[in-house]
Each structure stands twice: as C-alpha cells, then as structure tokens.
C-alpha cells in the first residue's frame, strides 16, 4: 500500500465516521415500533396516510428488543405507538409503564372488552385463533373434543407440537392455568408430552406437514398457518377442528397495539389505532394474513369464514401476559421443550 493510498484510505474512513443525521420532516406523522412485520402492516398504514394525510414511520423488530428500546429511550422515544403479535408482550409493556391509557369511544365500541386491556392501554386489532388440526384420513372429528383431551393416553405417539418457546403455546398454557389452575394444567401438559410422536418442532407449518405425512395425527396451530399451507397445497389431508365448543371456547390471542407512554403525537396515534379498528382497515389488517377481525361488526374474509364459525374463549387476553412466566416454568417442569 503506497503512502497516498494509505492517506486516502484514512480520509475515507474519517468521512464515513461522520454522523449521518436523521432527516427532519415537518409534516405530521406517527412513529410506530412494530413486531408485526412490514408486509402485514404497511398496507394499512398506506391506507391511513391516504385518508388522513398523516404519515406513518415505522421500524420492525422482535418484541423483547422493542420493549427494551422503549424503556431505554424513556421520555425522548421517537415512538408514538407499539404493535405486537401477541397479548403477553402488550401486557408486559403496560406493566413496565411503557404504554398510556387512552380514552376513545370508537375503540371501545369497535373492540370487545376481552380483546383489550381493562385500563385501555392496548387494544387487540386482529384475532389469532389457536386450534386443533388433524389428519382427515386417520382421525374422525368425533374423537376430538378439547385441548385437554389431547393428554389422553389414546393419543400416545399421535401428537405433534410446536416448541414451548413459541409465545402462542405460552399464551395457550397461560390461559389454561387461568381456567383450570396450575396443578391440573401441569398434568395435561405432561400428558401432551407423553403423547408426542416426535420431539417438539420449531414451527407449526412443519408440525402440520408432519401430520399430513402421517408421522402423527394431530397438532395445535394458529389457523392462518393452516390457511397458508392449504393455499399452497390444497390436497393435503388436513382439517380444522374447533375445540372446547361445549366449554369455554377456542383459545384466541391478538395482534394489537397501544399508544406509548411518552408519545409525542398522541392524537395522531389514537387516530391511527381508531382507523385500524374501523371496518375499512379491519378487513385489510386481518385478511392480509388470514386472521380474524377483532371488530365483531366486520365481515370475515370468505376464505377464512369457510373454515366454519366457532365460539371464542371470552376470557380476557390479559391473562396470557399475567401468567406467561408461570406457563413457561410449568412447561419446563413438564418436560415440554
């Protein structure tokens, strides 16, 4: 390396190190931290901007880092709103004081009470139903009844499950603790583990493919994974069974959002939340990922409605957060990996 080359190299390095300032824009905008991925939120944000003229700036990440970020940034946070794909993390955000209670007649009218925080710090925007998927060639729907019944020894070697590290399973078990108590739930989870045909799988599309291929007969999955898999491969021998219909109903989780505690643009953030709960946006929000709308007045996407109607468990989704750590520990004790 010659001397001049070396000098140029050093100069280039110094130039690159100079701070790149963030651009300042004066138009009104709402800043969102989102754990829901770009593909599943951008269409709604675009629609919102088109209708109101308010811009939406967002950044995506996992919930954990997003919460850590909000906490570290404190009152200077650029974020006005937080969106997650489960209730547990919204509950945790509220507990950490990262969200702000808001008053909105629209949101209270649009979102049923069990899908939002009792203090109105966050609101469910779409419903994710967690249900039983079975192999139509090997299982008669009449043999199925509840999540709890999957612990029955008659399913020995016939069950596939996604890992307990996934928040959807943690929420499900948390809800079971809320309803059945810890002891009973632990027995059930132990029963599931004893019935496993293979080690827990890393994702539920895989689990359903295992069911279709005959390695096991049943699994528990969110319906939109089923929808996506069947859209790609309609001939798979898989079907949905709605469990606990005689009892409390199908376990539901939410994808939802709330206004951050130190939001700079509170009216804008509330307007965005209200928009997302409105009929227009609800279809976009839910349909883009084959989820169910949180607003009961909104018509369900026909492809999704074809899976049949079902009773949702009306227990408040807050419980999923409150009992999540308990659920994780319980699954550890039960040997559910």
């Amino acid at each position: 390396m010659s001397r001049s080359c070396f000098n140029r190299y050093l100069t280039a390095m110094l130039c690159c190190l100079t701070v790149f300032g963030t651009s300042l824009s004066h138009a009104e905008q709402v800043v969102v931290y989102s754990a829901r991925i770009e593909q599943l939120i951008k269409p709604m944000f675009d629609a919102f901007t088109k209708e109101t003229g308010i811009g939406v700036k967002f950044v995506t990440d996992k919930e954990g880092p997003l919460l850590a970020r909000l906490k570290a940034e404190g009152k200077n946070t650029p974020a006005d709103m937080l969106i997650t794909v489960d209730a547990g993390n919204l509950w945790e955000a509220a507990r950490e004081g990262l969200l702000k209670p808001i008053e909105s007649k629209t949101l209270e009218a649009n979102i049923p009470a069990y899908l939002r925080d009792p203090q109105n710090q966050w609101f469910g925007l779409s419903v994710r139903a967690r249900t039983i998927i079975y192999n139509t060639q090997k299982v008669k729907p009449a043999d199925l009844s509840t999540y709890e019944a999957l612990a029955d020894p008659k399913w020995k070697g016939r069950l596939c499950l996604r890992t307990s590290k996934k928040v959807y399973n943690q929420s499900l078990v948390a809800m079971m603790i809320a309803e059945l108590g810890e002891e009973k739930t632990e027995q059930i989870v132990k029963g599931w583990v004893a019935n496993l045909a293979t080690d827990p799988l890393s994702d539920e599309t895989k689990a359903m493919e295992f069911v279709a291929a005959g390695k096991c007969d049943i699994t528990i999955a969110n319906t939109y994974y089923y929808g996506r898999l069947m859209a790609k491969n309609p001939t798979l021998p898989l079907a949905i069974f709605w469990p606990n219909q005689a009892g409390s109903g199908v376990h539901v989780n939410i994808s939802g959002g709330g206004v951050t505690h130190y939001a700079h643009n509170v009216p804008g953030a509330i307007k965005l939340l209200e928009f997302l709960s409105s009929e227009k946006a609800q279809n976009l929000f839910a349909d883009v990922n084959m989820e169910y709308p949180a607003n009961p007045k909104v018509k369900i996407d026909p492809a999704v409605a074809a899976w049949g109607s079902f009773k949702q468990n009306p227990i408040n989704v807050t419980k999923a957060g409150e009992l999540q750590a308990e659920a994780v520990k319980l699954m550890d004790r039960a040997g559910y990996r």
Partner: protein, 563 residues
C-alpha cells in the same frame, strides 16, 4: 497522517520529569507511545455494552435461577458442552485438513476448491440448518422418496433433529473460519516445514504432525475460537433444531419470562466462560514464539496421483456440496417460486444498504483491529493482552443481548445530551446519536472486533522482532513503521479479516434490527421479517440475494490473494 519528529531520542523518555504530565502526553504522542493507550481505549469502548450486561448481576431476578437449576439447567449445560466440543473438533478437523491439502498438495480441481471452499461463509448458519431439515427430516424429499421405495418403516434413518444434526450443520457453516486462517499459514510455511522435516529424517506424515501443525497453531486456534464463539452466541441454528442450549435459555428468560435481568445474568456467565477460555489459550500461546516465514514466489506442491488424488477431490467436493451447493440450490428453488410475487425494486435498496453497512463496518473494524494489534506488538505486556481479550469478547454474546447492551448506554447518553440541550439552550433535540449509522457501525465493531483481530494478529505475530529492529535502525517508528514495514506483510491477514467482517455483518440480524435508522432495511432484516412469520420460502429470496452479495468480497479476496 505523518507524525513529525519520530526519532529515537533517548531524552524523550525523560520528558515526564521535565514538563509534567501534559508534557509527557505530548512527548508520548511525538514518539508514538500513544500506542500504549490504544488497546485500553478500545477495550473500554467494548466494555461499556458488556458492562451493561454484567451490571444485571446486582439486580434481583426473582426465582428464575432456582427454577432453572431445578428443571432444565443440567440438560442445557450438557447440550452446550457437547455442541461446543463437537463443533470445535469438527471445524478443526475439516478446516485444517482442507487447508493443508489445498495449500500443499496438488490434486484435480485444487485451484477451484482452494477458493470455492470459502463460499459457505456467505450462507447464514440458520439457513443451512433450515435447508438441512427441509431436505432430510421426516417430511423432506429424501425420506419421502425412501419411504415410497422401501416402505413406511425407516427406523434406520438417523434422526436429523438431533445433537449430531446440529453439530454437523454448524461444522459445515463454521469450518471456513478455520480453513481461511489456517490455509494462510500453510501457504506461507507449510512446504518449508515439510522440507525441514525431511532434513530431520521425518516422513511427510510425521512432518505434518511434528512441524507444520504445531507451527500453524495460532491460526488454527484463532479460527476454532471464532467458530466456538459463534456457536455459543448462536440462537438461529439451535432454534431451527429446537436444540436447547445456554443461549436458548437466555432468550427464554427474556422473551418467555419477561426477565431481561435474568437473561443478562445468564449472558454474563457466558462472557466469563469465554474469557477464561481465552486466558487459558493465551497462557499456552505465550510460551511459543512464531517467526516469520515469508511466502516464496512459487510454492511447489506435492503432486498426488491415482486414487489418493481422486479421494481428495471427492472429499473437497463433498464438503462443498453439502455446505454450499445443496443449500443454495434449495434456496434457489424456493426463491424462484416466489420471485414474481415478491421481487420489486426495493430489493436494490436492501442490497445497497447491506453492502454499504458491511463495507463500512469492515473498514472500521479492520482499522481498529490493525491499530490494536500493532499497539500490542509494541507493548506486549500482560495488561495490554488482557485489554485485547476484553475488546474481542463481544463476539461471544448472543446478538440480541449485546444489542441491548449497546442500546442502553447510547440511549442514556442521548437522553443526557437532550436534557443538557434543553437546560442550556431550551432546545428540543430529541435523540441525536441513536438511529444513526455511526451508532450502528460502533455496534458492529464491538461485535466483530474478534473476527478481524484474529487474522490480523496472527499475521502480525509472523513478523520477527529483527525486522522491527532493522526498521528502527533506519529511523522508522510508529506510523511510518506500521505503514511501510508491516502493512505490506500484513496484507493477507487484513484481507482475510475484511472478508470475514464483511460477510458476518451482512448476515447479522439483532444489532441491525435494533440500531438501524428508520427505513434502513437490509437483506438480513428482510429475512428476519419473513422467517418470523414462518414463511421460509419467501425468506429464500432475500437469502439468495444475501449469498450472492456475500460472494463479492470473497471473490475479491481470492483475486487479491490467489495470484
């Protein structure tokens, strides 16, 4: 950047007494003794995020520790132990043997393999993992085909979702670290060590084990250490296999039990383990000295013929097939199936961001590594070495934990600045540092300093002290010596370091996710978004783009070094 007055003035050292502390500082600058402080400065910078993580130790974490001890801890530790042992021995075996054969022997396709075997670097390990499972698990095409031919009972087929499966995937993903570093050593000294061995009456095999291998030790250990740190920090690969390790426990405590405190405490333990490993390694290394042996103009390779030659070619192609061709082919098929739906001009933006960030990070990280290694050469005392060990610890931390460790102090500084601005100028500044490329690059540096330091330092060790003495005799010192004497010899090491950092930054997810400015999505961010909703076929499109982009620096590297 020339420093005037670089003389070997014996009086310069006495300036402390003459001009007080500031005079001393000024004189140290003149005589380039500022090098003395550099490693400590860098270590201090890296210590900030690590200290943030470790400081959690004094916070209460509820009953999570007790819970872990009672339930899963023993299993996790056993799992982690076997994983580390398997990956270390596997990458050493595969990396060293391939490096030796391509550097010293001649066999069909050697020229091609010598660079092609680097290609797996460009594939993120979790992608290799997902492809391996997709192909060889129960529902994969291999087992499905076997079932149609041989009947439904395939009890003999090994379970891919197993300890062995994870280990093999990680070996295939991480062996290039060892290969790249070791090959460099063999190229420059392998043949000669064999000649020396012959003159001592050893045969080739003895020569390899008694001379070439021990002489290449710092490079082998450097490569294996990188593979190990990567293994310990890995979350993606083990998640795909649902293989529980210490790192999965860290994330479970954080995401599952909402305790960042417990997660940080677990991560601190990981840091301590890695630090002890480094110190032990350093103790062994300190007893040896490695002298320079410059590459001769032309290396005469040992010609192999017959079945041996073809066996070698088969071994190399097998590795290349499983570590690179197969994953890329599968990714290609998936990407093609979603290409028309998903591809748009935004991919150019993702690509540009990925390339720019990787290039800047490689530039910064390698520059710092070079300066630090040079400083350690001038002041090779224990304190300096410890400082450097600390400065390279960032690589062993799970990415997201390190990202938070970086983010918290940056946000703190930002808040402090903003409150000052408010008090003094009554100005609302918002956050100034956070969300800038500057923060991002510093964050990358704290993570990847180990990756760039290892090859540069090993290369630096090869420059004998007599060269320094000769240079000093010619009146060269400090910057001038580094630039005119060391840099030309270090070229290979620097290119190696830059390539590794470039590719690693491109694959990096958690730091990119947490510190990127608004709108700065990269290919890795795109992969994260797709995989987080389980859409692996859609993730294949950015993954293919990432692999292709990762080939740039590798090809550049090959052109620079394989002349």
């Amino acid at each position: 950047m020339r420093v005037k007055g670089e003389t070997l003035d014996p009086m310069a050292r006495d300036t402390t007494t003459k001009y007080g502390f500031y005079g001393y500082l000024a004189s140290t600058y003149r005589t380039s003794s500022g090098w003395r402080f550099l490693p400590f400065l860098v270590a201090g910078l890296v210590l900030i995020p690590i200290g943030t993580v470790i400081s959690s130790f004094f916070a209460p974490a509820g009953d999570i520790w007790q819970h872990l001890v009672e339930t899963t801890l023993a299993g996790l530790l056993i799992n982690t132990f076997w994983l580390v042992l398997g990956v270390a021995s596997g990458t050493a075996l595969l990396g060293v043997s391939l490096a030796w054969f391509t550097a010293v022997c001649e066999f069909p396709g050697r020229k091609f393999f010598s660079w092609a075997l680097l290609l797996p670097l460009a594939i993120p390990a979790y992608v290799t993992a997902f492809v391996a499972l997709g192909l060889f698990d129960y529902i994969g095409p291999v087992q499905t085909a076997l079932r149609t031919w041989l009947g439904p009972d395939l009890a003999w087929f090994p379970n891919v979702r197993s300890r062995m499966g994870v280990i093999i995937v990680m070996i295939l993903a991480f062996y290039p670290y060892v290969y790249l570093l070791t090959r460099n050593a063999f190229l420059t000294q392998g043949k000669r060590s064999l000649e020396a061995a012959q003159s001592l009456g050893f045969n080739r095999t003895q020569g390899f084990f008694k001379l070439a291998l021990p002489m290449a030790r710092p490079w082998i250990v450097g490569g294996v250490m990188l593979a190990l740190m990567e293994t310990l920090a890995d979350f993606g690969t083990v998640s795909v296999f649902n293989y529980d390790t210490f790192t999965t426990a860290i994330y479970k405590a954080w995401f599952g039990m909402f305790s960042l405190t417990a997660a940080s405490q677990l991560a601190s333990l990981l840091i301590v383990i890695v630090f002890v490993m480094m110190v032990v390694e350093q103790q062994f290394r300190a007893r040896m000295r490695y002298a320079e042996n410059r590459q001769s103009a032309r290396v005469d390779r040992i010609p192999l013929a017959g079945w041996r030659a073809w066996l070698l070619a088969g071994f190399a192609s097998g590795t290349l097939f499983f570590a690179f061709l197969l994953p890329v082919a599968q990714l290609g098929i998936w990407a093609a199936s979603v290409f028309t739906r998903d591809f748009d001009q935004r991919y150019l933006e993702f690509l540009w961001h990925s390339l720019l960030l990787s290039a800047l990070a490689a530039l910064l990280t390698c520059s710092v590594a070079l300066l630090v290694a040079y400083a350690a050469r001038r002041y090779p005392d224990r304190a300096t070495h410890t400082a450097i060990r600390i400065a390279t610890l960032g690589y062993a931390l799970p990415g997201a934990v390190l990202a938070v460790g970086i983010f918290i102090p940056v946000a703190w500084l930002d808040n402090w600045l903003s409150s000052i601005a408010l008090q003094l100028f009554n100005m609302e500044t918002g956050l100034l540092i956070q969300g800038t490329l500057f923060t991002m690059l510093i964050a990358y540096m704290t993570r990847f300093l180990a990756v760039s330091h290892s090859p540069i330092d090993s290369a630096m060790q090869r420059i004998t002290g007599s060269i320094d003495e000769a240079a000093m005799g010619l009146g060269l010192n400090g910057w001038t010596m580094l630039r005119r004497v060391h840099l030309p010899i270090l070229k290979g090491g620097i290119f190696t370091a830059a390539t590794l950092v470039f590719v690693d930054v491109m694959k990096e997810m958690p730091i990119t996710l947490m510190t990127r400015p608004f709108g700065w999505d990269t290919l890795a961010v795109r992969i994260f978004e797709m995989t987080s909703e389980g859409a692996w076929d859609q993730a294949a499109l950015p993954a293919v783009a990432l692999v292709l982009a990762g080939l740039f620096p590798i090809i550049l590297f090959v052109r620079q070094t394989e002349k």
